[in-house]
């Protein structure tokens, strides 16, 4: 594996980001990271190492104690329309239908009802939920809820999609299906994706760049660039030469942080 410094243009970078909770809990330390445009970046690391914290800093939900996040050359000061987040626990409004949930982001922007429902239905179809737009979240399976969250994030058409363990709350088969669907979707919609995961396999399967964080306080331990050809059929990705070796390589660099 060669280490590619400039995969392509850099859309987002963090510079020396550090986060300290309650003046004593150091969650992140000196994280400097380049995120290439229109690629998938995975953040991998042991439990409690600060993955969610890093993603929330990038999303603008948490102000870093040290350092900064730069998007398109400008330092961010909070959440913005250039970044959408898909939540680990879906964060759907239980009293709203799928359509209303998906349209929430557009509603917040003051898009008129007819227009926002049209756009929402487009993305509901794209994530494969057509026919479920009038259902409530509690009537859906975990996988369908996550698709709803994804559709909501897609509606605002941001360049960057942030996902916090997007597939961890669903079962193994559903996870594979969602992963495949995500790759298919990204062939249609050109997006920069940063996602957090626990799974080495998932990281290698999906990502162009895998950022490995050390145990708490999280700092970058290693960055790996799986050179896997994703242009062909999704099924073939797992069978490519080097796939298993890469999983092993990441595991050996991650192992020492896992007690």
């Amino acid at each position: 594996m060669k280490k590619v410094g400039g995969l392509s243009d850099i859309i987002l970078k963090t510079e020396g980001v550090g986060v300290t909770y309650q003046e004593s809990i150091v969650a992140l330390k000196n994280v400097s990271l380049n995120v290439p445009t229109a690629k998938l970046t995975a953040i991998l690391g042991p439990s409690g190492c600060g993955k969610t914290t890093l993603l929330k800093v990038i999303a603008g939900l948490i102000e870093p104690t040290k350092g900064k996040v730069i998007v398109g050359g400008k330092e961010i000061i909070g959440p913005g329309p250039d970044r959408a987040l898909v939540f680990q626990d879906f964060a759907l409004l239980p009293w709203a239908t799928v359509l209303q949930n998906v349209a929430f982001g557009l509603r917040a922007r003051g898009v008129p009802k007819k227009e926002r429902e049209e756009t929402s239905l487009h993305y509901i179809r794209q994530v494969g939920l057509l026919g479920f737009e009038d259902k409530y979240p509690h009537q859906l399976s975990g996988g369908m809820r996550q698709r709803t969250g994804l559709a909501r994030a897609l509606t605002i058409n941001s360049d960057i999609l942030l996902m916090d363990e997007p597939f961890s709350a669903v079962d193994e088969q559903m996870r594979r299906k969602l992963q495949e669907d995500l790759l298919k979707l990204l062939k249609i919609e050109s997006k920069t994706v940063i996602f957090v995961t626990h799974s080495i396999e998932e990281a290698v399967y999906l990502a162009d760049q895998v950022v490995i964080l050390s145990g708490r306080p999280g700092s970058i331990a290693d960055i790996v660039y799986p050179e896997i050809d994703r242009l062909g059929e999704v099924d073939l990705i797992r069978r490519q030469p080097g796939y298993i070796e890469l999983v092993d390589e990441i595991w050996s660099s991650l192992k020492r942080y896992v007690e």
Binding site: L61, G80, P81, R83, D89, L93, P94, G105
Partner: protein
């Protein structure tokens, strides 16, 4: 020998069946105790307790009196105004305490203090300030009912999932939009519980307020009937007040079941 055993057994079964009937049907239980009351009243053991049949006639008389309807109107008026103010003021205060740590620090102690304080003791102190009339009764209703609205609203607001609020921020909602589109609907089941409990407390407040003041509304009537020893009317009035309270509380529970349908889907 065997025969008497058998009959004993029979009465036991009958007693058992009777007890079961009473337990399963509140209607039969009511009839039974009404019968007991009538019997005790007829025997005339206690001057304070006239037979139930007598009360029934007093009930009819009561409904013909303009004093009764004046008291009724006053009760309805003070109850609605007091409860309305409790809800309209209590919910925003609860939301404020729920979202602002500073407001929580300043206000929460007082709310918790008043929630369990014996409000009845405060009423005599209100009279010289607010006078003997609607204002004092309204104040009593508020003092009885507002705290539980505040506490329950606050509980609802603080239990709203962080991720829902973060979701609002991610999509660029203003603070006000987050409150109205996310926090309030998410806290709605608790808010409704608070409102229901406050209705129960307001019912107590409106009656207790009038009785402590003892010169106006139902309190005045109770006082008059007792001092002229009109026990039938006294009891009839008590029954009217009970029926009124149960009706209102029953209505609220019905409403709660309708509105809070999504409480268990969270």
């Amino acid at each position: 020998m065997l025969n008497s055993d058998l009959s004993k057994f029979k009465t036991l079964i009958q007693l058992f069946a009777f007890g079961k009937l009473m337990r399963t049907s509140p209607f039969w239980s009511l009839i039974f105790w009404a019968g007991v009351w009538e019997l005790i009243g007829q025997m005339g053991w206690m001057d304070l307790l006239p037979p139930l049949s007598g009360i029934w006639f007093a009930f009819a008389e009561l409904l013909e009196q303009s004093a009764f309807w004046d008291a009724f109107a006053m009760t309805a008026r003070t109850f609605s105004i007091g409860l309305g103010l409790s809800i309209v003021v209590g919910i925003p205060i609860g939301i404020l305490i729920g979202i602002s740590k500073r407001a929580d620090k300043i206000l929460s102690i007082w709310v918790n203090l008043f929630l369990s304080a014996p409000i009845t003791a405060v009423i005599p102190a209100l009279m010289p300030i607010l006078g003997i009339g609607d204002a004092t009764v309204i104040a009593t209703v508020i003092l009885f009912s507002i705290w539980v609205v505040i506490i329950d609203t606050q509980a609802g607001v603080t239990h709203v999932k962080d991720s829902l609020v973060e979701m609002g921020r991610i999509f660029g909602c203003s603070r006000l939009n987050i409150i109205f589109w996310i926090v309030i609907p998410a806290a709605m089941p608790e808010i409704i519980t608070g409102v229901r409990l406050s209705v129960v407390r307001a019912v107590k407040g409106v009656i207790v307020g009038q009785i402590v003041i003892a010169l106006i509304g139902f309190g005045g009537l109770f006082n008059t009937y007792l001092s002229y020893f009109l026990m039938e009317r006294f009891w009839a009035l008590i029954i009217v007040v009970f029926i009124m309270s149960f009706t209102i509380i029953g209505l609220v529970e019905l409403l709660e079941r309708r509105i809070a349908f999504y409480a268990n889907t969270r």
